[in-house]
Symmetry: none
Subunit: 208 residues, 4 copies
Amino acid sequence: MKLRARTDEEKQLKREKLLDSARVLFPRHGYQGTTIEMITANAGLSPAAFYLYFSSKTVIYRALNARGIDILQKEIEEQLASAGVSAREKIGAIARAYFRFFTGNRDYYDIIAILHLGQGEFFTNPDKVPDLEARTSELLSLIAGIIQEGVEKGVFSDADPWRTAVTLWGMIDGVLLLEVKKSTSFTKVRIEQAVERMTEIVVRALEI
Amino acid sequence: MKLRARTDEEKQLKREKLLDSARVLFPRHGYQGTTIEMITANAGLSPAAFYLYFSSKTVIYRALNARGIDILQKEIEEQLASAGVSAREKIGAIARAYFRFFTGNRDYYDIIAILHLGQGEFFTNPDKVPDLEARTSELLSLIAGIIQEGVEKGVFSDADPWRTAVTLWGMIDGVLLLEVKKSTSFTKVRIEQAVERMTEIVVRALEI
Amino acid sequence: MKLRARTDEEKQLKREKLLDSARVLFPRHGYQGTTIEMITANAGLSPAAFYLYFSSKTVIYRALNARGIDILQKEIEEQLASAGVSAREKIGAIARAYFRFFTGNRDYYDIIAILHLGQGEFFTNPDKVPDLEARTSELLSLIAGIIQEGVEKGVFSDADPWRTAVTLWGMIDGVLLLEVKKSTSFTKVRIEQAVERMTEIVVRALEI
Amino acid sequence: MKLRARTDEEKQLKREKLLDSARVLFPRHGYQGTTIEMITANAGLSPAAFYLYFSSKTVIYRALNARGIDILQKEIEEQLASAGVSAREKIGAIARAYFRFFTGNRDYYDIIAILHLGQGEFFTNPDKVPDLEARTSELLSLIAGIIQEGVEKGVFSDADPWRTAVTLWGMIDGVLLLEVKKSTSFTKVRIEQAVERMTEIVVRALEI
DNA sequence: GATGAATGAGTATTCATTCAT
DNA sequence: TATGAATGAATACTCATTCAT
């Protein structure tokens, strides 16, 4: 049993190594630019071994997308848990969560937020990352729900919750993306401030 | 001499054809997904002829980036020309310009704002699209200048102009990008409203 | 000792399972198209286990060839045993045997009569299936012997026995092969008739 | 014009070279065993150049099949042209044509008559060589027509023409195949005699 | 200026086979 | 005996780029 367990653990470990390797490589070289050989070399395996763990390049890419979203979701849950009950605080918590995800898991941010853009393969053909789309919608719904709550409690003016959620998300994303594009322009602290300030602005605009 | 001129014109014409072909293809198939053969076929030339006009695939891609920025810049100039002199109006004009660029030159928007993301080749290695970075900075400086002006004239509160400019730009970009990613969520009219509303919010937050 | 015997039995059983699995797969997927993994999966073993029973893919293929010929030979012996003593009857019995082998052991027929054709590996390099060649010769000799007998007894005209045997065999084989190639053209009953008729024609041509 | 023609000719020549190379290789190594690299090396080209002339391995294989059948058909036409008008003579002519095709174009014989057997790829999936099947049927119809004619003219007994045609063809094919399988057993002259004798036997059996 | 022909360097994926456990 | 893990060697096909004509 020990033996078996050890093997399984090791197998899991190698799988992790491959995922890790790919997580680092994809953002740096793009989807097409990352070869199976690069991924396996980084993980100390032969290219053929890759197929013992993932059935194709697409599959490992999807796995990373799913993992990225998982991390983001967990971050949001944590921030919400430690936030107050007011809609304003909840929205702040989500913005903070997304920012923390960005700074603390940059590879994953790049993978779920950026990589598929500009990749004909995934951009034109979004079926290839179906989870991504579905789960992004989930997150947006969560924000929309909070806004809706605020509207119902009379603290927010009567804005379309979903549209507002999308706008807020897009705004934050846009600022983070700018940071990505021009990484010299901001220090990390400054982005955090920017995100906070932006959220503040939006929330204030929503109020009453 | 006449002959020569005509030849030059023709040469220019074919160059244009290639650029046009590439402009349409890059956003639809991605950078790697667009082959020289596709570009030349669309332009009625042989693949080899491509190299009479551009020395590599990277070069035509860069040319499109430059052109996209040119168009955007012109749009901004136009909008500014027909706008009032107040900082508020100027900022509104710039936001409107970017939105018009987005709707009226979608291929170029995709190329300058999206395509290079997720392409290791350009993303990691921004030297490959140096203009893009430089010229984006120019635009941001323009906005920052307007904000600075507003601050000096006492109509805007004392915010860091450049940082605020980046934030505004990122916000707008983020919303447009969201539209790109999930094109069903908004109708075009609604994006326009979103952009306007967002600008309004930011400007109002800036005022006094 | 009992234990050992049981183990041997089991080993034999698994070997059989592999052979059986391969017998079904080879005709359906061709030699190259049949992978070790397919064979072992079908037999409930791991690919690595294959090499405990056969030292290579070639070897199991040869084993199936040998087995196919064994079955055919047995069929011929049976038919001859229950046939009369005249050369005519004996030849009829052999033809019937081959036809029965074809219908009753189609996988083996495909393996010994067809599969190696068109496989450069075996076709060009017949050393790889040496048994096949040797044992086919044996069968032909048997037929030739019968014809020789007929000639000696004066019931057959003075034809070259071996050449006639080959011709007869080829004729039958050709008809069966046609059935294989174009399985819609004949019903099984019709092939049987065709084979019988063909044999009858040949025998009659031989007589006197 | 000369220039253009020369280029076209040369292109055609290279195409021929590739076909020739493949014609020799396929029978000797089988379909899967013949690699693009082997084909191009034999023709003095790089593997990539192959795709300037044929869009895939399947395509060149099909081209060879078509070509083989063409040659056979021409052979049959020639033999029929120089044969008498009686059904007997016509059948003899066809048999002779097939035999001549076999001896004079052995590679093609192997390709159209043998290669696809035992290749899961083509055998199980005959759509991959659709011409082959269709055109083989044509040839069989031709023979059936001649038999039908003989029956109508009262020189042949009332046999089912198509079935008889198939049988005859299969018989000849079987004998040739035996030669293929066991190339030492017959000299060429002997096969010719065998085929002739076989045809004679069948025709005689058909006659009233 | 234009192009048909050619190719070097890839690139994902497959599979028979080995070996430590 | 059995196998999970690993891999070397293939292999069809692609594409940016070159060059003789």
